[in-house]
Amino acid sequence: MKVLSKAKLEAALNKLSDRNEVFVPMQKGQQSGYFTWKSFENGQDELMLDALNVYQSPKNAVLPQTEKMYSIKSQGVEVNIDQTYEDAHPTIIFGARGCDVKGIIAMDDVFLTRGYEDSFYKARRSGNTIIANACYEPGANCFCNAMEVNSLEPVGADVILRDAGDGYVWEVKSDKGEAVTALIADLLEEKEAKLPEVKPFIQKVDYSGVAEKLKSMFDHPLWDKLSQPCINCGMCTYVCPSCYCFDIQVKMWGEEGYRFRAWDSCMFEEYSREAGGGNPRGASKERFRQRFLHKLEFFKERYGTPLCTGCGRCIIVCPTDINIVRIIDAVKEAEINA
């Protein structure tokens, strides 16, 4: 098998960075997320490939938090769009866990199917290669196995890395994977490596039947109780590898400017506010319910898979301890005729 020894990891990242923007999990100052290898500062930043995961997911690489769409020039009655900013420059997400790979595959469903292909997403995704990092030892909040993710064989990865102690087994899964492998062929060795033992999941989650059951639980009293502590901050949606909602806005300086999109969150009141001030999801509970129903029911109905990938991030960061696993449990246990 092909192996990239850890001693050669930096060399490989350097080489890949010649022609690609390479997003790597790292601790950068106070931030923990995927940042470009070129921005890595020796001595200050820390590579996090051997940690379970990082707080900010890699979705930024294909759906940047702020993304320019097209230029606007406006003079009197004339307006022009001189340029659109589809960006297909080559990018590599290096070391994404299965849950985060699934987040991107779910976004592929949203942006590339159902009649319209989003040209901006399509461009970024076409230039994007995913090198996944298989998980052998799930963490305290991981439950991807319950959310249709195989953390050992992430679907959609172009290359899969397997941490074998002093090196990564390098498994090519697609043509895109072949192409990036060619870039570092001289750094890979052909040898045997012993794969780690697969540890069991700590979280025991049973999602089966939840989407179907939720169909009749829209008005269930459990939402009042579950949503009580939530402050509708939006942190859970921004760290989530699969939340994709966006807003479209414009920035002008005099006659010139551009339109851009920016992440939005169903947790925000402004998100669904309508003309005349009405809002179908004006109350905290209604927004809370939207988030969890979208994740656990609506997305499954529309695209055949849940929009939660079981990464556990929101469970760790939520300031009021809202825990999606406990919500799944509560739905399972709920009596319906209430």
Binding site: Y116, S119, D247, I248, F298, F299
Partner: protein, 284 residues
Amino acid sequence: MPDQDHKCTCSEQPLVPTIVEVIDIIDRTPDVKSFFVRNVDGNGVPFQVAPGQCGMVSHLPIGEAMISCTWQEEQEYLEFAIKRVGLLTDELHQIEVGQKIGVRGPYGNGFPVDACKGRDMVFIAGGIGLAPLRSFIKYCFKNRADYGKITILYGSRSKADLCFKEELFELWPQETNTEVFVTIDNAQADWDGHVGFVPSYMEEVNPSSQGAIAVVCGPPIMIKFVLQSLEKMGYNDDQVITTLEMRMKCGIGKCGRCNIGSEFICLDGPVYYLKQLRDLPPEW
């Protein structure tokens, strides 16, 4: 009801508007104007719209809003009737003929014009809600033989707020087998027509539910009471069609905000049979 085979008639860049020219602007009421747009080269329209479909209209330096195309006149123009309510619509009301603006579309499923063939049609609208219905009404008149009796019931706050007055009072009443009923909320000196809300007027007029299809559009509160009245009058859920309005940004089922349950109203709607709505979470 997600439609997996939605035929893509859109451009390669669905979120990027096409620039068109505003060739005419008509004041419909003190706060509603019609904007007529055509390709900048003077030839044709940027896309073909079916009755009930919408376009995302943008004044580029300001913003975009989803607006029903109230009429497409062949290759001549697209007409959008726009009520002034906020940031973008305020600015649009300031522009003059000759201004270039952006549009993208067509969006939404549109009215089931074929499925309604052969039926008596009852159109019930309030305020700016007549704008989307008007595309269907005009389509019926254009294909008059395909539809049975046509009843139009329309109300607004005051006489001045009635949209499309010429059509309401002069053109439509002259069509064969057609009745038009107009009401305003409160009595006023120069009005000798009906006074009262749409739902109660509708019960008075009492258009027969026998073989009829009712199409309803207006402010949420009106829709709510009209639906109750229709039920009383014997209309089944598959005889009632309405259009939903949710906050929209992308118009193509991507940005997330317009959903009700697993339906994205911009893409799968905005037109629904009441029967379909009954299966959705009660957020409409």
